[in-house]
Symmetry: C2
Amino acid sequence: MDIMNNVENVKTQMRRGVLEYCILSILSKKDSYASSILSELKDARMIVVEGTIYPLLIRQKNQGLLTYRWEESPQGPPRKYYQITDKGRRALEEMDSAWQEIVETIRLLRDK
Amino acid sequence: MDIMNNVENVKTQMRRGVLEYCILSILSKKDSYASSILSELKDARMIVVEGTIYPLLIRQKNQGLLTYRWEESPQGPPRKYYQITDKGRRALEEMDSAWQEIVETIRLLRDK
DNA sequence: TTTATTACCTTGTATCACAAAGTATACAAA
DNA sequence: TTTGTATACTTTGTGATACAAGGTAATAAA
């Protein structure tokens, strides 16, 4: 197997780990809908596809981290706008800590 | 579902994403065997269990990132010492870049 | 010979990301 | 009116893989 194949695979795994964190982060700044979140993540080189993000948003909604409402679109079908809840904001804070901890752990592992 | 449940789950996912990276990093410093790598990861709060690490080492060996040799143990059964290959070192360098990129991506997402 | 310690390995289950295909709306062009 | 295009949400099937749990085996001490 090619080396870039390994690395791409690991990159994918790394991204997976922070995907929920990224989505909460985006929604903590302003309400948004799946397609828009998708574009934002792609711009930030966090490659994700529809089949990943829709079920994930539904899971987060079911966990009480998000709510949603339907809104008319300027053109095309209505959009499902997601909004972060108080519980979602508390979870986001916890994820901030978790992320910092992992970044520090890796830093120590790589330096030592 | 409790909020700490969400966060624990996300922490687990984050750890998963960097597990292969951590193992290559540990082996880049000195040859080691599964049980020892496991302890080292646990000390660094990268919680992993046997059923995770054994198949992972086998996968990395099959990908040509590692080789192994058997060595007598001072007590108990022989140990399977893994050694990183040149290909493994190149993969590790690529993973360093990938990790830095993700850390930077998250920093931007969280700050903006 | 039984127990403890160390070590490696496998199996069954659940989760989840992704690819792919499907459904639906709105609008413009033919 | 029909067709094409863009936007948007949803579902299904597949494969990868982490984990829990249990199994195998070597050594030494009780």
